[in-house]
Symmetry: C2
Subunit: 713 residues, 2 copies
């Protein structure tokens, strides 16, 4: 009885409208009164003529933010007339901005400054830029300072991005399924577009603009030609119209065989004049409907997609043909380097490099080649892709995967900022020491005229947008790193936690600890020591180290782990597939040398005996068991930490995260137990003492089937 009454009481105190995560990091909840008191004098007046849709959006956001955070909006004025004014705009939009020396000249497009200045004698906080989108970004920056309770009275910020295109790639299909999507159906309600425009599209644009994301590819790289038909172009235009004020341009994926499928031609040969004409006409048609259309993203001759090689042409032939078509309209072609073929007997990890390096210098100047962070496929951890640094004459875009295809889907708490930072910091040594991946991608090393970072989106119609509360952090971290690849993933995580949950250090510190160790944990319980591609076949849900057979060797697990009675690992040394030689000599020397290679990549490059002595002193088999177990333990600890934070988090979001952490713990254990049970059939060794045996038999784990795992269509 008393338990029921307690339940009843608990239910009754809950607020009517619970926090569900929809507001993302833009919650603008009232700050503590003391903090409001500190900020109020710096927002006493607003001078911000809104002379364009972008400035209207910026002004609306600023007032929404101030109304929320400070529980009051400043009075608007035509000129600064008192202390604590906010002066916002471009030299064109705002005469008083034009009169100030703000250091705007050095900014790249969409860059901005926040400066404290005296204007007509009044202390004034200035948010200014050369272009309207920069002003919008500056407004978001200012609000972020307030949300994270940073001082603004001496603010002196100048922000410019070296990355021109900061893009989301949506792998969204026209039937609203999302390939590798774990956050519900596609946001794009194609059936009701263009006539019904969901207000949510605006919130999507706001979230992206708050991070500086300025490009979105609406459709799946496994493309459908129908997306380029007038019907769908008009639907895309309705989205472009919503995104335009927020500085976001729309891109589409182009199916290489579209001239055949929707054009009625007999060929899609890029050297065929009729094909070229078809793409030119298609480009003209697109730009007539969407004048600021960004361009085309293409996956060709990869995993069964059509491409120029079907006609004996090269990737450059294909890309250039499309580039010529969009060039007159200022369009860009982004050509993916994620290619491999099962007819090719060589190590799959080597194929993209082998195909693309010879093409360096052969692409038109409006082509970018988009390279995944690693050479296999978005594994929990991969060494950086050897293409970075190897194509000095071809702008290379980075492709990260925000959606957690190989990382436990929506329910596993895995903060990816640390992993992306790790990749961006790697030194390619091309042409010399210090040529980090970040400096390749941002154009510093090779003076690329074009730069881009793309992320495969994790956004869907789930109320929390990303499938889980903490997956929002990956969208956030991607955007922040795309703006500035030199940022610290830890700083980003802290910023996100403060905006999304709480500024209370009693919350921030433990939650930050969870995030910062979360990637290492998933690597431990899924693929420790450089193991990779061991997930369930097709859907990639759960462990499948036993996957073999089927249509393609390079779609099996046994191809990648190569476990046998003697040992485990893929020999990519000079004695093996020699993938190491695709790296600069300084890097290759490290990867090739079992003594020098970081242990995190050990089995990526080396096949080693079960009793190989690792740095811990444990033999390889014991070290594997140790790491699998450590991963599970870390997740269990994360769960405990989260439980302890219950008083500091609203109940609905706390409960969701807690439930997911419990699922993660179960699945981490499943990964550990299944992997150990399987690899033990090769190692024939007992578990080290103190380590529990797998809960079930190997046959049990192999018997599990998940035909309806999400994200697989």
């Amino acid at each position: 009885m008393s338990a029921i009454w307690a339940l009843c009481a608990a239910l009754l105190v809950q607020p009517a409208s619970a926090e569900d995560g929809y507001d993302l990091w833009l919650r603008y909840q009232p700050l503590p009164p003391a903090q409001r008191g500190i900020y109020a004098p710096s927002a006493a007046q607003l001078v911000m003529p809104a002379t364009s849709p972008t400035l209207v959006a910026a002004k609306e956001e600023l007032l929404r933010g101030l109304n929320g955070l400070l529980s009051q909006a400043p009075a608007t004025s035509e000129r600064v007339s008192k202390a604590g004014a906010l002066l916002v705009g471009t030299p064109q939009s705002n005469p008083q901005v034009a009169q100030l020396d703000l250091g705007l000249k050095g900014l790249t497009p969409q860059g901005y400054v926040l400066r404290q200045r005296r204007v007509d004698g009044h202390p004034t906080l200035v948010i200014a830029a050369n272009d309207d989108v920069g002003v919008l970004y500056g407004v978001f920056h200012f609000l972020r300072l307030l949300q994270t309770q940073q001082p603004v009275d001496k603010v002196d910020v100048s922000e410019s991005s070296r990355i021109q295109l900061r893009m989301l790639n949506h792998w969204d299909n026209l039937d609203r399924t999302v390939e590798r999507g774990y956050s519900g159906a596609s946001l794009w309600d194609w059936h009701k577009l263009p006539d019904y425009v969901d207000p949510r599209y605006t919130d999507y644009a706001r979230a992206n603009a708050s991070l500086g994301i300025n490009a979105t590819v609406l459709t799946n790289v496994n493309a459908n030609a129908m997306a380029l038909t007038p019907t769908y172009l008009h639907k895309a235009e309705a989205l472009a119209k919503v995104f335009r004020p927020y500085g976001i341009r729309v891109y589409l994926t182009a199916r290489f065989s579209a001239p055949v499928e929707i054009g009625g031609l007999k060929t899609a040969d890029p050297l065929d004049p009729q094909v070229q004409k078809w793409w030119q006409a298609k480009a003209a048609e697109i730009y007539k409907i969407i004048p600021d259309f960004g361009g085309l993203l293409v996956k060709a001759n990869s995993e069964g997609q059509p491409g120029p090689q079907d006609y004996g042409r090269t990737h450059a032939d294909g890309a250039n043909m499309m580039a010529d078509a969009v060039k007159p309209f200022g369009g860009t072609v982004i050509w993916r380097a994620f290619v491999y073929s099962n007819e090719q007997p060589d190590d799959r990890a080597k194929q993209a490099y082998d195909e693309f390096v010879p093409l360096d210098g052969k692409f038109r100047d409006n082509v970018l080649v988009q390279v995944k962070n690693g050479a296999i496929d978005f594994q929990p951890r991969e060494p950086f892709h050897p293409l970075f640094g190897a194509m000095p004459k071809t702008p290379l875009a980075m492709e990260f995967q925000i959606t957690k295809e190989y990382l436990g889907f929506a329910t596993h708490l895995v903060y990816l900022g640390t992993f992306w930072e790790e990749v961006l910091r790697e030194d390619t040594y091309r042409p010399r020491k210090g040529s980090t991946v970040a400096k390749i991608v941002d154009g510093t090393v090779h003076n690329y005229a074009r730069t881009a970072i793309a992320g495969v989106a994790n956004v869907g119609v789930d109320r929390n947008w990303s499938g889980s509360q903490f997956d929002q952090a990956n969208w956030y971290a991607f955007g922040r790193l795309a703006w500035n690849p030199m940022l610290s993933s830890k700083d980003i995580a802290e910023e996100w936690l403060r905006m999304t949950f709480s500024n209370d250090p009693k919350f921030v510190e433990p939650a930050l600890g969870m995030m910062m160790k979360s990637h290492e944990a998933v690597v431990d319980y899924m693929t420790p020591l450089g193991l990779h591609h061991l997930m369930g076949r097709g859907h990639h849900y759960g462990p499948g180290p036993w996957v073999e057979g089927g249509p393609r060797a390079d779609w099996t697990s046994v191809y990648f782990h190569r476990a046998d009675a003697n040992g485990i690992g893929f020999d990519r040394t000079r004695k093996g597939s020699d993938a190491v030689s695709q790296y600069a000599p300084q890097v290759a020397a490290v990867f090739n040398d079992v003594k020098r290679i970081p242990e995190k990549f050990l089995l990526w490059f080396h096949h080693l005996p079960w009793d190989y002595r690792t740095k811990s002193g444990r033999i390889l088999w014991d070290e594997l068991v140790y790491r699998y177990t450590r991963g599970v333990d870390t997740v269990r600890e994360m769960g405990k930490t989260w439980q302890s934070l219950a008083p500091l988090v609203d109940s609905q979001r706390h409960a969701e995260v807690a439930a997911f952490l419990k699922i993660q713990e179960q699945e981490a254990k499943w990964w550990r137990d299944a992997s150990i049970a399987y690899f033990q059939t090769f190692s024939k060794r007992p578990l080290p003492s103190g380590f529990a045996p797998p809960e079930h038999s190997l046959d049990y784990y192999k018997s599990l089937e998940f035909p309806y795992a999400p994200g697989h269509h």
Copy 2:
């Protein structure tokens, strides 16, 4: 410039948290102060011991409602001690209820009373029932009175439903697609169940309980045997646990061949002892996991589904075998009568009757046969199914379709209450005048021991639940009519409008007008005068009167309209397929006689020449054109009416409805134009003067393709 400023101003006044429809008809927004003043004295104190999870839910709802509507909750007390108390409970849960003579004896299960009584000398409003779910229903009834601003000071209500099972049928698949679903993916997140229980499941249960819906079939009638495996039963159990306090029992669909597919048997023959044993064991397994499991819904030998006829057995053999399996646990089998076969050359409309009538009396007492409202398939309008009244010894459940498969999907505003009322009021004349469909279904006529009304759900993850704001009204109307099939659809619509939008008569009256004429409009612009089944093939989106060929004649349009140079319509008279003779003689005489048949069913039963003179004086061809056009005109008027209501509706919901009405108008015109263009090729007649010709050529309409129309998988 000034336009931009105006836009800016408009944006800034919008409330932070817009109304999006999530709260359905349970919004509990504050009543006007005067109205609050009237109600406050009747809610001065709450005496409601909550001794069960259901009573906790009821109490929570009551306090949530009062907190919202009156902006204050009553003080709780152990006994009535002042005027204006609310005394709530059962005689078991609440001693003061037990002392009153409230007329509880005559109630059916889950029935309730609302009475004004003096308790210990204090005027008291009593909400009481014999069981806890009845109390919950009574609470919702009380809140509805407040929401619709009805007087409560003299309230004297006794509510009992004659329909025992008021069910939703979800056609939801395990991959979260929904067959004929137009409101986003399935609510059931199977992948995360049972470990993650979305709080939305509780809101779903609340909405259903507010209407008296007490059963939900979680899975598609085109069933997947995997839903009966332990993995999925545990997922279903997690949902059952959420729904239980709200009086809702969970059902599943059973694939007839499950013993083969998941049981490892070689046959699913219902007379095979091994098969019988398998189902008995399966039933035991289900009830061990879900002790209050409702039962099984079965679609067998219909549209390619397996069934007893595969083994030369009858529907009764199949149903009884399953009924015997669930009987020891109190389970029910609901067997669908929606059967037809393309090997059968006879009129598809006749087949269910022909198959099922001979089986009357042969079903076990825990079997219901579920019959669609009409004999074809949820057409915009159909005559009532001839099975109603024809199976006196077999309880027949009514199956309505709430989701708008043949009715324009989510964007067409079509209130179905009027149509369902029309069907329920039809007189079967079996065995005598006055034997309406409602009285067959509620058991009055044949003394059925079991009664049920089922609705194919229109609920999905869309924020507004049903795909559109006005589609919520169909969920609502279904629930209200399932509770009491004698209710007026107009009263229901008004009730819903008041709860969902506004009590302002300036809003209610015009909006009610829109709803009340909306069904007639869709019949006009899609299938006037008894035409039927003319939609696009497969997805049923848009007009497809030209659909012919393909695997089955009865899946084409030409099978149903039979237009030729001489005329149009399906001859189901005694001279034709003689479907009329499946009705009682009094009904058959009317349907058979072209002079007596209501014109709304004219071409359903008669093939008539193009120059046949209709009641309006127009020849048939002209009348068709007139009605198609009238349908479009009505939708245009609805759009204008809605525009005029803008000041009375919150902006987000107003904009959504307005956009949808615009789509509906375009699509109504498309229906009209395509249908006229097509039928004109037979009639060879000009349009009557003053009627615009179709906008495009027939070839244009025929060329349109919609491979990604929603709801079709």
